[in-house]
Symmetry: C2
Subunit: 207 residues, 2 copies
């Protein structure tokens, strides 16, 4: 049986699915409000970016996008996001591999469930792709997205663009210039889901 | 005769049209590349944001949006944009009023054509609205947009969202938090035109 979701998984390549960032973002490019930390994971007022998830189980575009995200075959996460999310208690969805990019490994720290730590972005991405078995790989976190972009390993961005200007907070993008190609746009209540293919990234100076 | 464009002009109010920013913006919120100045008005590489104008005379969404912009009844511009644009030689389009927001008036500097200087954002907006005769007022420039937003006088934003991450340049938004409502989305080659109604702006600290 070929469903739209299965077709989506196979879009990038016959053998491997795309590595795709899913991220809610304000019109001014913020992915959290200011002062994001444990206990206030989304920053002050940052909950606003996730209102659209109220419609994640609906029949509309937000339902479609959410179902696609949770049908991915592996997860790549930045360490910071992984910790703020309580390590997903080792299971992000359906027990798929959770490959966590980190700068420092602590041999005494064994992550739970299907989570594993990686310090090399290339190895992290390659193993996620292999684990996904032809399905897409879901990327979580700005740090992971930036590292993958700089390494030329991020294939797509699914931006949930939320009609708010936050003014302050954590930004999705750093100083890397990235040429994109918009490949899909879906609008639902309070959000537009924009999918971009990454054409070319040119590393700039980090901030 | 009632055309879609005339209806558009009358959308905000029976007597006055909306004050609406038209702005090309990268996915990361930049409206120029870095180092924008006379002779390099769009900043380094900032021309990328205006590729969509190649389709401004077409039958697609970009043609529609461009025709709407050039059918507005008055212009409000920041001083910086006004100067970088060579003062439009006194005629932005069809001889409509060009109200230029500036911090300092020089009595010896008489702007050309239909351009006039204003130091008070409220007076500038009220006179532009009156001059527009029920049509929409086109806003140019990040400075003018921010001043109008802080004063609660910007009704709408028409963002030409371009599929590129510039990484550096001049940003559209400052630290003012603004709640928006998306009212239209049109996609054409290399751009998505997103129209937002301003619901509420809360002034923050200037950067």
């Amino acid at each position: 049986m070929t469903t739209p979701i299965e077709e989506d998984h196979m879009a990038a390549d016959d053998a491997f699915g795309p590595i795709r960032l899913y991220m809610s973002m304000s019109l001014d490019g913020f992915i959290t409000g200011p002062d994001d930390r444990r206990g206030q994971e989304l920053g002050a007022g940052g909950w606003r970016l996730f209102d659209w998830l109220d419609h994640r189980h609906g029949d509309g575009a937000s339902g479609q996008v959410y179902r696609e995200a949770t049908a991915t075959g592996a997860v790549i996460s930045g360490r910071r996001t992984f910790e703020l999310a309580g390590r997903w208690q080792g299971d992000h969805h359906d027990g798929v591999a959770i490959n966590v990019l980190t700068h420092h490994l602590d041999p005494d720290d064994r992550p739970p469930g299907s989570a594993r730590f990686f310090t090399d972005v290339g190895v992290c991405a390659a193993e996620a792709r292999a684990a996904a078995g032809g399905r897409a790989v879901l990327v979580h976190g700005a740090g992971a997205a930036q590292a993958l972009l700089r390494a030329g390993l991020l294939d797509e961005l699914e931006i949930h663009l939320v009609p708010v200007v936050l003014g302050k907070g954590r930004r999705l993008f750093d100083e890397t210039r990235v040429e994109l190609r918009q490949v899909r746009q879906l609008t639902d209540q309070g959000v537009t889901h924009l999918r971009y293919a990454v054409e070319r990234a040119e590393a700039g100076r980090p901030r």
